[in-house]
Amino acid sequence: MSDPVSACNGAPDVHDPRVAACIDRYWRRNVRLTAGLLALWALAGLGCGVLFADALNRVRLGGFPLGFWFAQQGSILVFVVLILVYALVLNRLDARHRRELAALRGAAAGGDRG
């Protein structure tokens, strides 16, 4: 049975320190974004929809008490938007990461020739 890592075609060489730093940067940005979006998730769903629902119900949104609206409509809309933002931002982050890795690989290849 072959070594799982070397069998990965096209995967970057994680043992190169510059590549490792690049991967680390990407991962930290990813975790920050994920944590931020999850905070909004908790605020909209568990916060406005549940914990503060009775207080928000004193405010009216058209014919809706606001807490009730968050529990049955608003939180769901927020959830859809959160995933949309995540997909957009992270797919761009991926593309940037890919460019950075390609630049490193190009530099490494140039170094080999020289």
Partner: protein
């Protein structure tokens, strides 16, 4: 044409479509059978995920449940959609990068443990079977009410259809059938609600109509509902935290459903079918967008139907009872036991002594007939003979109509055209069949891939594995059908608990497996056992053993949230005491996080015959 005629047309056409897709999507290898060749476009996968997710329970029961619970119904709405955020952000892209076939594959490889893999397989099979049983019951209800065929015949027709496209096409057949089923079910759900919304409020968008004034009443629908509820002794429709549903309970149930959703194997496995990590993220977005279309409409359906139901039932006399009541009375899902004044009184818990509207629940037709007969004698003799059926049904907790009829009866309540009523029947069947087929595939892959191929006979050839997969899915269809014909009484409760079990077992193991490299085999396995052990004990103890809700009075449906914390706590406490995972596992985690390159190599790819 009659409602029944239209129903035959719609159900017949939709079934013919599903069979056509089955023939067009036959597969020849395990990659096609388990993960649709990993070539499903993200929008199509989103639709299939949505159809997979929206079960007979979402389609038939959820709006009814919301109508009964009012504000607290939001637990289910938020729980079953909020879970997708966790899934999209914490699980789907990483498991797609991991790229095997099943959830137990990930648990087994990440924690390098055969025990963990077997525990995961057991959870996957248990969760899937309890779920499937509920779907088949939904098929039975639709057939018996609309086509007036025997439930057994109905379930057998449903089984035959699922059997055809699941065994021929595997995940590929299931996925494309689910895309078609999504359109059938969402059309069937939206059209009646839009029609009712226009009728009641003049707005074509139900979500707006729900917050608008009732035509001719001069007050908002929700305010009117609150007022009727208070007058008739029900809890307020929009006020939170009444009775059993305290703030803590609503919080825990919502959280348990969210986390459980993200841990359910039949949902996670859908993200294995798309081309790459980017497609997995888009696919999660499309899935929730398509799901939200139904979940944003269901509360409107609930509020409209609640209003119609009370307005048309309460105070009606035998001659003025609406037609929908007559047709549903035959099924026993709604009953009227008069107190002698000849008028229906539909009352809530605060005035439960006066209530005359019930359901038959788990009573057999013979028991129900005896209750009715005794009640008739009691009425005729002015209380001297027989027994008051209302007291008896109230004691059994059968006050009020069954939740399940609300969606199916809503178009009839609003006196919509026959073809709309029939469309809803076809939608209910689509919802039940699409979910059932997704679950059956999980059962098949758990048994044929995780148990047979990965543990019993790792040298099995591709052809053998495909054959085993097909045989298992066939057997699973038969078992699921038997559940539908002889429904075990515990099904509806158990489905809700499946979320608690998924929340307390899979979710922490998967998330920690991706976001830390430090957590090893022993803490993760013990964490899963502690979480699921705690949750299962609490649920079984309080539901069947009469145990008090000793954990801060938390409802068994919400205990999964605590179970998840127990799992996290046990795993993280033991982690510093246990050895680090091997270098192989650390490389595996690194490669899952890295969006570049191919997925990590797996035993499967290096196995002979592959």
């Amino acid at each position: 044409m009659t409602i029944q005629g239209w129903t035959f047309v719609f159900v017949g056409l939709s079934f013919a479509l599903y069979l056509g897709i089955a023939l067009a999507t036959r597969v020849r290898d395990t990659e096609g059978f388990y993960v649709a060749g990993r070539a499903v476009p993200s929008i199509a996968n989103g639709m299939a995920t949505a159809a997979d997710w929206m079960s007979a329970a979402s389609f038939l029961s959820m709006a009814g449940l919301i109508a009964t619970l009012g504000y607290a119904g939001g637990m289910y709405l938020m729980g079953w959609t909020g879970g997708y955020v966790l899934l999209a952000l914490l699980i789907a892209p990483y498991l797609r990068k991991f790229g095997h076939f099943t959830v137990p594959d990930f648990v087994g490889d990440r924690y390098e443990s055969r025990v963990a893999r077997v525990v995961a397989v057991g959870c996957a099979i248990f969760v899937s079977f309890t779920y499937v049983a509920g779907q088949m019951r939904g098929v039975g209800i639709v057939f018996s009410r609309f086509l007036e065929v025997d439930i057994t015949v109905g379930v057998m027709i449903g089984m035959a259809i699922v059997f055809a496209y699941a065994t021929l096409g595997g995940m590929k057949g299931i996925t494309w059938t689910q895309v078609a089923q999504y359109w059938v079910l969402i059309t069937a759900f939206l059209i009646p609600t839009i029609a009712i919304s226009i009728q009641l409020t003049g707005h074509a968008i139900p979500q707006v109509g729900m917050g608008s004034e009732l035509l001719g009443q001069g007050m908002p629908l929700l305010a009117k509902l609150d007022q009727i509820h208070t007058d008739l002794g029900f809890a307020s429709y929009t006020e939170p935290f009444l009775g059993q549903w305290s703030r803590l309970n609503v919080f825990c149930v919502t959280l348990a459903l969210m986390v459980g959703t993200a841990g359910l194997p039949h949902v996670i496995v859908r993200f294995y079918t798309v081309r790459n990590v980017k497609a997995a993220r888009w696919s999660a977005f499309w899935a929730l967008a398509f799901i939200a279309l139904l979940y944003l409409t269901a509360p409107a359906t609930a509020a409209f139907a609640r209003y119609h139901m009370i307005a048309s039932l309460d105070g009606a006399a035998r001659t003025t009872l609406p037609a929908w009541f007559r047709s549903w009375e035959k099924t026993g899902l709604v009953l009227w036991l008069d107190d002698g004044d000849g008028r229906v009184a539909y009352r809530g818990p605060a005035r439960t002594d006066e209530n005359e509207v019930f359901r038959c629940g788990a009573l057999s037709p013979a028991e129900l007939a005896s209750v009715r007969e005794e009640h008739g004698r009691w009425l005729a003799s002015a209380g001297a003979q027989g027994a008051d059926g209302r007291t008896r049904l109230r004691a059994l907790g059968l006050s009020g109509p069954d939740h399940d009829i609300l969606v199916l009866a809503a178009p009839e309540m609003a006196a919509l055209a026959g073809w709309i009523v029939a469309l809803v029947a076809a939608g209910g069947l689509a919802a039940a069949l699409s979910t059932a087929s997704g679950l059956l595939l999980v059962i098949s892959s758990s048994v044929a891939h995780d148990l047979y191929y990965r543990i019993v006979d790792p040298r099995a050839s591709e052809a053998q594995r495909l054959l085993v997969g097909r045989v298992v899915i066939g057997l699973a269809v038969v078992v699921a059908g038997l559940f539908g014909i002889f429904p075990p009484g515990f099904v509806s409760q158990v489905v809700a608990f499946a979320f608690g079990l998924a929340a307390s077992s899979f979710f922490p193991a998967i998330v920690l497996g991706i976001f830390t490299t430090r957590v090893g085999t022993v803490p993760a396995t013990l964490g899963m056992l502690a979480g699921i052990g705690f949750t299962a004990t609490y649920i079984i103890g309080s539901v069947y053993g009469g145990m008090p809700h000793w954990c801060f009075g938390i409802d068994p449906q919400g205990i999964g949230a605590v179970g998840m914390l127990v799992n996290f706590a046990v795993t993280l406490t033991l982690t510093p005491l246990c050895p680090r995972p091997s270098a192989r596992v650390r490389d595996l985690v690194e490669s899952i996080r890295e969006p570049e390159g191919a997925g990590p190599a797996v035993y499967i790819e290096t196995a002979p015959e592959h």
